[in-house]
Amino acid sequence: MSAPLLQLSDVTKSFGGIKALSGLSCEVRQGQIVGVIGPNGAGKTTLFNVITGAYRANSGDVNFDRQPITHWRPYRIARAGAVRTFQNIRLFSSMTVWEHLLVAQPGRGALWRRALPTRWADGAAIARAEEVLEFFGLKDVRNQIARSLSYGTQRKVEMARALTANPRLLLLDEPVAGMNHDEAEDIRRLMLRLRDGGLTILLIEHDMGFVMNLCDYLYVLDFGVLIAKGLPAEIQSDPIVMDAYLGKEA
């Protein structure tokens, strides 16, 4: 079997005396949708921050596509193919939806192409942006300031922005938070289509129904420790998980 696309071994990250992640090991295989669940404060977003280079792990290794990315700068990790969205939506406040889709294609095009008007010099970037715009059904809002849109649409724009970079691994931090059922279902279908197209997805989500219906594999975190992993069906019936997480919610 081939090596996993993303592999964390024994990763620890602490703030002051508090361990947000302790000795975490996990892996994400090519072509899967993998979920990370756990109660608030379990260290899920910290995990994303360590993978994408926003935080540097105190110890342990992160490997992406067989490269050690533990100490890489964030933009380099993103260019290597691991691109994320944010739990607290971070869209660029001055930009339209369309501009978000153009700006986040950093790997594409020589400097002269990027420095000249896009519509003259960079057909490829425009084509990619059009494709993603269409895929997410954002054509109607194309020229609106992204921050002015509804919450659900803003989340879509974030996903679209990440996708224009042609990532190999898409990291989604609570992609359906604040969405109604129909919107979430829409996102679920889009994610499945992306996976069938060969994209690997790692996602954090609180909506259990969404996670169980979508993910191929799950990791459960609690207080920075990995307490369970397995197929959704196994996790659902795991007593430790019920106790730590599902029990509290119910």
Partner: protein, 278 residues
């Protein structure tokens, strides 16, 4: 056109370039209070090249812009670790250091200034201004410009989605330094005499003022701001001794009622639509 009008127009052009140099850095969300320093580098270098080394003016300006740009990049590497007001204060310090440097540099005349440049016409000044305005205008619809705006909006997020924010900022700094140098070279060859006092803190502030008054979200704003800054005091002549005060009051009023500056995209769009309709 009288000599007087020509001189005013040339000053508008030179200030437009200075303002554009600040505009480019402002697009990445950073403020420079020391661009007069780069202007001084351009002015002295271009003048030295034409007067002492006999280089033709246009080549001298290109060389000055390149050298200043390289200095800008070199300074940018350490300086851009700073942000916001701290970067602004560091650039202020840089500007004052350069002024002090030229005060002490005997080869360019020290405090006595430097002269001997051949006078250039207002047309030549405006060819450069037009060229750089067009370049900036083209860049504004490029992806590189979007990357700069991304840095201004949310630097951390920009980095996490794959933008090399450090290079973007340093590139902007270098470009800014080059444009300011052209402004300085033209200043020197229009006024045919320069001294370190020409490039003090007040000059740097003039650049910032022109951008903020004219409109900081669009390059053409620099042109509007520069025209305002140079021509308005002429219009206020009736006020005689109180011209600066009236100007200061006007500045405060504009900031209070239209903080994005006089020109912005929506205003520009209204103008162009009206033209099409007519």
């Amino acid at each position: 056109m009288s000599t007087y009008t020509a001189s005013l127009l040339a000053d508008v052009g030179i200030l437009t370039l200075g303002a554009l140099s600040v505009y480019v850095i402002l697009a990445t969300g950073q403020l420079s209070l020391g661009n007069a320093g780069f202007m001084a580098i351009g002015a002295y270098l271009a003048s030295y090249l034409t007067v002492v080394a006999g280089v033709p003016l246009t080549s001298a300006l290109v060389i000055a812009a390149l050298c200043s740009g390289i200095i800008g990049v070199m300074i940018g590497f350490p300086a851009l670790r700073l942000k916001g007001i701290f970067l602004a204060m560091a650039t202020l310090g840089f500007g004052e250091m350069i002024r002090s440097l030229f005060l002490n540099l005997e080869i360019t005349g020290g405090a006595g200034g430097f002269h001997g440049m051949a006078h250039v016409s207002v047309t030549y000044v405006w060819i450069w201004v037009g060229l750089i305005l067009v370049l900036v205008w083209l860049m504004e619809s490029s992806r590189a410009w979007l990357e700069m705006r991304a840095v201004a909006d949310d630097e951390t997020a920009a980095n996490l989605i794959g933008l090399n924010t450090t290079m973007t900022k340093i590139g902007a700094f270098g470009m800014s330094a080059a444009v300011a140098a052209v402004s300085g070279g033209l200043f020197a060859h229009h006024h045919v005499y320069i001294e370190p006092g020409n490039f003090g803190f007040e000059r740097s502030i003039d650049f910032v003022l022109a951008v903020i008054l004219g409109g900081s979200t669009i390059g053409a704003g620099s042109l509007v701001g520069a025209a305002l800054l140079v021509l308005l005091p002429e219009q206020l002549r009736a006020l005689d001794d109180w011209r600066p005060a009236a100007f200061g009051a006007l500045l405060i009023i504009v900031l209070l009622i239209r903080r994005q500056g006089i020109l912005d995209r929506s205003l520009l769009r209204r103008f162009t639509f009206r033209k099409q309709a007519a």
